[in-house]
Amino acid sequence: MLSKRIIACLDVRDGRVVKGVQFQQLQHAGDPGELARRYNAEGIDEIVILDVTATLEKRAASARTIGAVAREIFLPLTVGGGIRSEDDAYAAVEAGADKVSLNTAALRSPELITTLAGRYGSQAVIVAIDARRREKGFAVYARSGTHDAARDAVQWAREAESRGAGEILLTSMDRDGTRAGFDCELTAAVSDAVNIPVIASGGGGTFDHFTEVFTRGRADAALAASIFHYATSSVAALKEHLRAQGIPVRL
């Protein structure tokens, strides 16, 4: 049976891992290579590097950071942040990324999804969606959550799939960094709408939040940062908990 994946996210700025709350107040949380080594030893299933300021500062995620993390792990590595072109994706892949994550660039030029899927295969192309609740449904935000993209999250996920995305990385901006629990309604709405894996992100604070997002939220994978960075919980302990709840995980 396919395991539910636990993914650690390294939000990187200037070669350091940072973490904010609801996309604001970024604080240093450690060295990317050191964190990757620890997560690998604890049994993480994948690692995602997001250069959280890359889009704003028009700067691609640095090859050095990708290389430092790639050296530590024999696990799938995704790189996102500031990937705007085929060349940016090529640079990330050459530096050691197995998958690239598109966000703002996919909203601006959806054909980039198809181009990259054609070149590297759909399995290498993740479309990241930053979503926020609105009166009805969920709105998509671009440029590190600063611009309303005037799109509906569920519809955009469907379009991303039809254009060749292999996975959706879905972040609840309302829950990001709050450790108040994943937005299970958002996750379930998107997961039900597409036939590709959905990675839930934003709000994971307790082990039960993960149980909820895999059951009620129907997520295929869950991504978290804060809960792991500050060593409040180990990946291994989380997986033991999930297994005890009947959720298939890799131990």
Binding site: L2, S3, D45, E94, G96
Partner: protein, 205 residues
């Protein structure tokens, strides 16, 4: 020297990194002729089966001749699928045909929320003793990312189930294939690659 065959379909970075970590002496030959005399061949792969068309007549003849002479060959993911006769993904493109059967599309099962592509960690169910799986136990988990898979035939030594059951590991004489990515499957994956390198070393002795 191990020849890592690059047909331009995907990045070889993680396979190179794994082989370097395992201390393997490998090279990425620039031509088919440079493969001749290799201690072993590895055909990696991510992406579309059609990309294997870049392995033209000369490559195929060279690799087929090496296989006939007993050189160990390992196909990974699309590289494994290429060992078969062909794939539903690219009907016009033939495989090497050293394993019989057609690679087919995974159907998934929307009612049970089994999605395609099959992405993530899944278990290997061992069927028969295999050199590639030495030191591992049935149930070991490895990382998959694919939408097509080979059928279970007599060469299949381990299966995986995702809605349907497919060949996850094949092995016959000196030909080996894995549908998953050992280079991204943590310690389990490294062990499988080490087992292949051991096969190559045993033959050299």
């Amino acid at each position: 020297m191990i020849a890592l065959v690059d047909y331009g379909a995907g990045n070889l970075t993680s396979v190179r990194k794994a082989l370097t970590t395992l201390g393997a002496d490998f090279r990425v030959p620039g031509s088919a002729a440079a493969c001749a005399g290799a201690a072993a061949l590895i055909v990696p792969g991510v992406g579309h089966f059609a990309a294997t068309a870049a392995l033209d007549e000369e490559w195929r003849d060279t690799i087929a001749a090496e296989v006939r002479s007993g050189t160990p060959l390992l196909g990974i993911c699309v590289g494994m699928q290429w060992l078969f006769d062909g794939s539903e993904e690219a009907p016009g493109v033939g495989g090497l045909g050293v394993m019989s059967g057609q690679v087919g599309r995974l159907r998934g099962d929307p009612d049970r929320r089994l999605k395609v592509p099959h992405v993530g960690w899944n278990a290997l169910d061992f069927r028969s003793p295999a050199r590639l799986l030495r030191g591992l136990a049935s149930g070991a988990q490895v990382y998959f990312t694919h939408s097509f898979a080979p059928p279970v035939t007599s060469t299949c030594v381990a299966t995986t189930t995702h809605a349907s059951t497919f060949a996850a590991v094949v092995e016959r004489d000196n030909v080996f294939g894995v549908q998953f990515h050992p280079e991204k499957s943590g310690e389990t994956g490294l062990k499988i690659l080490r087992n292949f390198l051991d096969v190559a070393r045993e033959r050299a002795c």
